[in-house]
């Protein structure tokens, strides 16, 4: 691994002693199938006050490396070789008791998922105070005062009162702030930030990372930042370490890696990072136009061949009754408020918004899984609320969903064949033989070998599972597919593959997509038109390029600015923005 060269403001004397020096680290897990290496010979150096980012896809060993440092490997994980020198001590050789003294006091951790990383049964203040007491920082009334200070410092308003509340009374962003307060409570010299914001909305992510960066710079804390997002890493760290299959494939100053990636994996990563390369996937699109024209009904004149609206949503409103409260005093919550849009046949409409903006509710109403409170949905000119049972059954065939989590949306007890064949059987299409042929055809369509059909979801990767989910959605030859965060759970490279696949399928089959996502970078790659939703309302609706190049609403501008790496101008070779 190369020595970090000085980059702008982050210059450091070359004779400085490293704070953390990992050499030849090997970590393995013992499974029924034998010993599986997860980290293979990793070298990593962090200097005092420096921010180093480890970038890689899930399973690359980046989190395992980080957890090995403070001996928090899950399950059967074990450090099997190499050294982790921290201020001259080998952490891998410490006793359990010595490690307890290092954790929190010397090395802090900000974990990945703010939803599951705070204990739901204790107040947030209690959990921060514990960190202070355990590390001998403060106790008693002084500790209570310090808790409020720490939470305020982490950017939590009204901290003294908030400290008495429980995690479920906090939003995701606030929980992450509390976790940052815990991580920094004992003023550690090194903070491990393990995907600290990947579960949060982009705008929240930005404010939290800005805050974390300001805090650690002020305190002089070194940060080991772990992320799957190259754009984010480049924006936040001086030094990048790219990991792939348990090995470091490339490391160096962030700007150098982005502008001139040497390793093929890094090159692919840079090329497919949605936050960096933002263009509508075009090649397939061109074909799409001609195909839809060919498929258009031949009976009519030229006017019929133009794209009509396959789905029209008119003045959609949906309210929910909030639970609890005395009878007659129940509150109502308007999840979707007077939303109207239309999807042109053969195109992609994206619905963008943060969590809680009502976009998934719209998706469920369009799928007719939820009834609107008022307003109506026209599918091919027919009002959904007027459908009888048989028509509804037919509608189900023509509109299919793909959901976010391919781990949850496939039945683990069903073989892949049964999963894809089930809709055909439900709709009594073909006999066993023709159905099997159709399953083969569908697997081929999503670029999976036919042998996959005898396997089960747990034997497949996340990307493969999402391909299965797509194949199942396509089984009945639908016209509209509702993708609810269909690529949000996937790694960037896989995400790029699935987006390309969706695009090709659209061109080949003339599909229309309603694409629900919180990720504007993805929108740019897939959508023709965009509706930006906020608090149940559509605040901006336009053609994709228009929204990106010329956003009219402040909210849309905030969303755009929050895309990680948006400020980076890597191909222009400019110096600014690397460490904004």
């Amino acid at each position: 691994m190369s020595q970090p060269t000085s980059t702008g403001a982050a210059a450091r004397p070359s004779d400085q002693q490293p704070l953390l020096a990992i050499r030849d680290l090997e970590v393995s897990f013992t499974t029924a199938a034998g010993v599986v290496p997860a980290v293979r010979g990793v070298d990593l150096t962090v200097y005092p006050g420096q921010t180093v980012a480890i970038v890689g896809e899930s399973g690359s060993g980046k989190s395992t490396t980080a957890h090995a440092i403070i001996d928090l490997l899950p399950g059967t994980g074990k450090v099997t070789g190499g050294s982790i020198m921290f201020e001259g001590r080998d952490l891998a050789a410490l006793s359990r008791r010595e490690m307890v003294a290092v954790r929190g006091k010397e090395i802090g951790l900000v974990p990945q998922d703010p939803m599951s990383n705070l204990n739901p049964v204790w107040s947030v203040g209690f959990q921060v105070k514990e960190a202070l007491k355990a590390n001998g920082v403060a106790r008693g009334a002084a500790a209570d005062k310090r808790v409020a200070e720490l939470l305020t410092e982490a950017g939590l308003p009204d901290a003294a009162r908030r400290a008495k509340q429980y995690p479920h009374e906090y939003s995701g962003g606030m929980r992450q702030r509390a976790l940052i307060a815990i991580g920094l409570a004992a003023r550690p010299k090194l903070l491990i930030a393990d995907e600290p914001t990947s579960a949060l909305d982009v705008t929240v992510q930005r404010t939290i990372l800005d805050h974390l960066q300001g805090l650690t710079e002020e305190l002089g804390t070194a940060v080991l930042f772990i992320t799957h997002d190259l754009g984010l890493a480049a924006e936040r760290a001086e030094h990048l370490v790219v990991m792939y299959r348990g090995k470091v494939v490339e490391s160096g100053p962030a700007r150098d890696i982005l502008s001139a990636p040497r390793h093929p994996y890094t090159q692919r990563l840079v090329a497919s990072a949605p936050s960096l390369a933002s263009q509508r996937i075009q090649s397939a699109k061109e074909r799409g136009v001609t195909t839809t024209e060919l498929l258009a009904p031949t009976g009519g004149d030229g006017v019929n061949a133009t794209r009509d609206d396959v789905v029209a949503v008119e003045n959609l409103t949906r309210t929910f009754k909030l639970r609890g409260g005395r009878p007659g005093k129940q509150k109502e919550f308007t999840a979707v408020d007077d939303v109207s849009f239309a999807i042109k046949r053969g195109t992609t409409m994206a619905l963008v918004g943060e969590s809680g903006s009502g976009k998934s509710t719209v998706a469920n109403i369009v799928l007719n899984l939820l009834d609107p409170t008022s307003g109506r949905i026209l599918f091919d000119g027919t009002d959904l609320s007027t459908l009888n049972r048989a028509q509804l059954f037919d509608f189900r065939r023509r509109v299919q969903p793909i959901f976010q989590n391919p781990y949850g949306s496939l039945d683990p007890m069903y073989s892949i064949y049964r999963t894809i064949e089930e809709p055909l059987r439900t709709h009594k299409i073909g006999d066993q033989k023709s159905r099997e042929a159709r399953v083969r055809e569908l697997l081929d369509l999503v670029a999976l070998p036919a042998s996959t059909m005898r396997r089960y979801p747990n034997e497949l990767s996340g990307g493969q599972r999402q391909r299965i989910a797509i194949a199942r959605a396509l089984a009945l030859g639908p016209e509209v597919i509702v993708c609810d965060e269909a690529v949000s759970a996937l790694d960037v490279l896989v995400q790029a593959q699935i987006l390309t696949l969706l695009n090709d399928l659209q061109a080949e089959l003339g599909l229309s997509y309603l694409f629900i996502t919180h990720d504007l970078a993805v929108v740019r790659q897939i959508a023709d038109e965009v509706c930006v939703m906020k608090s149940g309302k559509i605040v901006e609706a336009a053609v994709t390029d228009e929204v990106f190049d010329n956003p009219r609403e402040q909210y849309t501008r905030d969303l755009l600015a929050a895309i990680p790496g948006a400020a980076l101008n890597i191909f222009g070779g400019s110096d600014q923005g690397i460490r904004a």
Binding site: I70, L72, P74, G75, R96, V100, A101, V102, R103, G104, K105, G108, L109, P111, Q112, D113, S116, N117, L118, N119, P120, V121, W122, S123, Q127, E130, A131, A134, N135, Y166, H168, L179, I182, G183, A185, A186, G324, G325, R326
Partner: protein
């Protein structure tokens, strides 16, 4: 909170009415004539039989009988048994001892079940865990009366550590063995439930965060694993109190305890509807109250649950 408790208590009224009506109907529909049975082989003088029927309202239609019974409840008169004893007396005899027995059984299964379960959960896959799991499976599989007789023989007769039977001499010591036998199966369930809950919670993200804060292992376990793990266990224990009170008939039989189970059994055999309905209704109420207490305890353990 007060609103929630009030609503739950109000819910007890329809449950009470429904339960009594259902039980009354079932006893009424039982085959056989209780009055004729009183006469044995020789049969009763028809005039006497008619008098008894009139006295116990057995000559009236079913619904009238039921309403008269309800009227009795609100005037604290539950009627008398065929032998002339007030039903309230019968219940006053049976319930205290059964209640004491059930509470002791509950305490036994809670204390030992949770303790063994926590240790097994922390040492998942080790020798202690494996042994305890096999033993608990054995307890669940072997019928209660086998455990009862074996214990009575070994501990009571051979070793003479504890009294073999209870009889009229109800004391704490004499109830220890019956309580253990009564709580044995639930003990095994509590153990397994706690063990799984602890083992699962140990791998929770927030436990890792707690460790990363620099907390010692004992502190992590006692503060961040135990409280979270007890939530499902408490639910089970609460529901179990009702089951222990009503289901003690076998244990009561083995150890000669004059409790609810035996009383109820005899009353059913003799078709004494007032006794059956009264005893069962009290059991239903115990069950409902126990469930309410569990729900309130639940909120105390888990702040996410707030009743409004």
């Amino acid at each position: 909170m007060a609103w929630y408790v009030g609503r739950r208590l109000l819910q007890m009224i329809p449950v009470f009415l429904g339960a009594t009506l259902l039980i009354y109907a079932m006893v009424f529909l039982l085959p056989g004539d209780p009055v004729a049975a009183l006469g044995g082989e020789r049969g009763l003088n028809p005039a006497v039989a008619a008098q008894i029927r009139a006295e116990y309202n057995l000559d009236k239609p079913f619904l009238v009988q039921y309403l008269l019974y309800l009227q009795g409840i609100f005037t604290f008169d539950l009627g008398t048994t065929f032998s002339g004893r007030p039903v309230t007396d019968v219940m006053a005899d049976a319930f205290p001892v059964t209640f004491q027995l059930a509470v002791m059984a509950l305490a036994f299964e809670a204390v030992f079940g949770i303790a063994a379960g926590v240790i097994a959960g922390l040492r998942k896959g080790k020798a202690f865990d494996a042994t305890v799991l096999v033993l608990s499976l054995l307890v669940v599989a072997v019928p209660t009366f086998v455990i009862g007789f074996v214990m009575q023989f070994v501990v009571g007769v051979k070793l003479r550590w504890l009294p073999t039977a209870v009889g009229s001499d109800v004391s704490f010591t004499s109830l220890i063995m019956p309580a253990i036998v009564l709580g044995a199966v639930s003990f095994a369930y509590v153990l397994r439930l706690t063990r799984n809950s602890v083992a699962e919670n140990l791998t929770a993200d927030h436990v890792r965060t707690a460790t990363a804060k620099g907390l010692s292992r004992p502190r992590v376990v006692s503060v961040h694993v135990l409280r979270n793990s007890l939530i499902p266990v408490v639910t089970f224990l609460g529901a179990d109190l009702g089951a222990l009170m009503g289901g003690a008939i076998i244990t009561e039989g083995i150890f000669n305890i004059n409790g609810v189970g035996g009383t109820l059994f005899r009353a059913i055999q003799q078709g004494q509807s007032t006794t059956v309905v009264s005893v069962t209704t009290v059991l239903v109420i115990v069950y409902i109250v126990a469930n309410l207490l569990v729900d309130l305890l639940y909120a105390a353990l888990d702040p996410r649950i707030r009743y409004a």
